[in-house]
């Protein structure tokens, strides 16, 4: 049942022209950043070679690029999550799911996985671009792995939060702006926090991604992402259930 809903969600996303436009534009932006990074790296390569423990192409090119991807995902995900529930509510198609023999858990997890499939596609396409470096140099697979994992976990947390905001309203635009505002707030918390103020920074998904971005696989970070996702998915399920009672 979950799979049915996920695949429908995924196919619906691919049926909309704007999805393809976004996918294309993203590839262009990624390629631009990638080539700019690569160019900068090649210019300083001769100087780097004189250092004792010089950073390789993975650390100098791939990691910053994937860091940028994380930032772009932050702005991108609200556009997709707003459709998931808010738009269905506005178009009154949510009734189909509500009166079908599926539970709220199926609906929420199904939609979550459906969007994750598309985000995986974006993340993989970006990783493939980075893997092109393998033709010229040896890549740090460990660092690439933690980055990929970090991106997926970050995307999952953003999706879970976006899904929850989407379930609160019947206006897709409100859902998108609200979600973006919260993402931005979390990001500002991370950026503006002073170094010794760790407790505030710990709230922001991006700060946990930073560790994975530099190749640090920390169980605290993994737990944070996991709890973040579960919390907001549960809140969404609860919200849908309340919807049957109060609205």
């Amino acid at each position: 049942m979950i799979l049915t809903i996920s695949l429908k969600e995924f196919r619906s996303l691919l049926a909309i022209p704007s999805t393809w436009l976004i996918l294309g534009a993203l590839q262009f932006i990624f390629a631009w950043f990638f080539l700019a990074r690569l160019d900068a790296f090649l210019q300083v390569q001769s100087q780097l070679a004189q250092l004792a423990n010089a950073p390789g192409a993975t650390l100098a090119v791939a990691a910053p690029l994937l860091g940028t991807v994380a930032l772009i995902l932050m702005m991108l995900i609200p556009i997709f999550t707003m459709r998931l529930i808010a738009e269905e509510r506005r178009n009154q198609t949510l009734t189909l799911l509500m009166s079908a023999p599926v539970s709220d858990i199926h609906i929420v997890i199904g939609k979550f996985i459906g969007l994750m499939l598309l985000l995986l596609l974006i993340i993989i396409s970006c990783l493939l671009m980075v893997l092109a470096l393998a033709t010229g140099t040896q890549l740090d697979t460990g660092l690439l792995f933690t980055n990929a994992l970090g991106l997926i976990l970050l995307a999952a947390s953003y999706t879970a939060l976006g899904l929850y905001i989407s379930s609160l309203t019947a206006q897709p635009a409100v859902a998108a702006i609200g979600t973006l505002a919260i993402f931005f707030g979390l990001w500002l918390v991370e950026v503006s926090a002073v170094d010794h103020d760790k407790s505030w920074r710990a709230l922001a998904p991006t700060s946990h991604f930073q560790n994975l971005n530099i190749g640090l696989l920390n169980s605290t970070d993994l737990m944070f992402f996991l709890l973040f996702c579960i919390t907001f998915l549960l809140l969404t399920i609860r919200r849908l259930y309340n919807n049957r009672i109060y609205s």
């Binding site: 429908k8 049926a15 009166s99």
Partner: protein, 312 residues
């Protein structure tokens, strides 16, 4: 419809609030196999809310709903496989093709994979969508979208079909098609539909429930409803009328009202009919009887009368 047909849907004492305001006050309904029940009412009488509760999209604040022996509130998933629901606005994903959408609906209602193709063809045949399978729903006309909505509700052959204003916004020929379809569905399933078109009730419903301010105030077979509060009588046209008193003198005639110089409304008791005597007299005295039309209350009048009675 036979009385011994099994009960497929029964709702007891449904109560529903929106905020502090109670909008449904203890509605109880019963529906038998092979029956078409029409839910009538003004706008805002609570028809849609009641139907949404019966379909499981809204939870009642109190009350029980049982469908095919399952309790909708305690076993929602098992129960809902027996329900097909078409809400007021058909829940259609505009970007999907008709086939894709119906297959999705079939999967949602747990039709085994092997039977989906058959169910799809059958649902499309019934709703006259054979040639529209590959079309994108958003490009279809309102009438066809409504058909896709109905196809979605019947694809899994549910025992109980719930239709919320199924013929709204359709042209007359489409309305006729949909009514024929509902009648056909009513033979094999139980259908409950809401409407404010009284003609629809007359044509397709076996039974009528009238809803007013969140209560069911009247329920009976639709033929009986037409006789509600009506008085037996007829209108007769006499081109050379006699004096009123002569008409009044005919046996069993209770009252004579002249409608014009040549038309008279004659009321009589329920079990007698003085029309034969009147015609005989007319022939005898040369009153030139031309037309004799039995009084038949229109459903509109009955409906207005029932809802008015409730207000007093």
């Amino acid at each position: 419809m036979s009385v011994i047909a099994p009960i497929t849907l029964s709702a007891r004492n449904l109560i529903r609030r929106f905020g502090q305001r109670e909008v449904i006050h203890g509605v109880s309904l019963e529906l038998r196999h092979g029956e078409v029940l029409g839910l009538l009412g003004h706008n805002g009488a609570g028809k849609s809310t009641t139907l949404q509760m019966l379909a499981g999209a809204l939870l009642p604040h109190s009350g029980e709903i049982e469908i095919c022996g399952f309790n909708l509130i305690r076993q929602p998933q098992k129960t809902k496989t027996n329900i097909g629901f078409l809400p007021e606005t058909p829940p259609l994903y505009r970007e999907m093709s008709v086939n894709d959408f119906l297959i999705f609906a079939a999967k949602l209602h747990r039709i085994p994979r092997a039977q989906i193709t058959n169910a799809l063809t059958e649902a499309k045949r019934r709703c006259g969508l054979q040639d529209s399978g590959k079309k994108i729903i958003g490009t279809l006309s309102k009438g066809y979208q409504q058909r896709v909505g109905i196809a979605q509700a019947i694809i899994h052959q549910p025992e109980v079909i719930i239709l919320d204003e199924p013929t709204v916004g359709l042209d007359p020929s489409q309305i006729r098609d949909i009514r024929a379809l509902i009648r056909e569905l009513g033979n094999m399933h139980s259908v409950i539909l809401s409407t404010h078109l009284l003609g629809e009730v007359e044509n397709i419903c076996d039974r009528v429930e009238i809803m007013h301010h969140g209560r069911l105030i009247y329920g009976d077979s639709s033929t009986k409803m037409q006789q509600y509060g009506s008085q037996s009588g007829f209108i007769v046209t006499l081109l050379a009328p006699p004096a009123l008193s002569e008409l009044q003198a005919i046996a069993d005639v209770q009252q004579v009202d002249p409608l014009s110089t040549t038309q008279f409304r004659i009321l009589h008791t329920a079990n007698t009919n003085p029309s034969v005597a009147l015609l005989a007299l007319a022939a005898q005295h040369g009153w030139q009887a031309e037309q004799l039309v039995p009084l038949r209350t229109r459903l509109e009048d009955v409906f207005m009368q029932i809802t008015q009675d409730e207000k007093l």
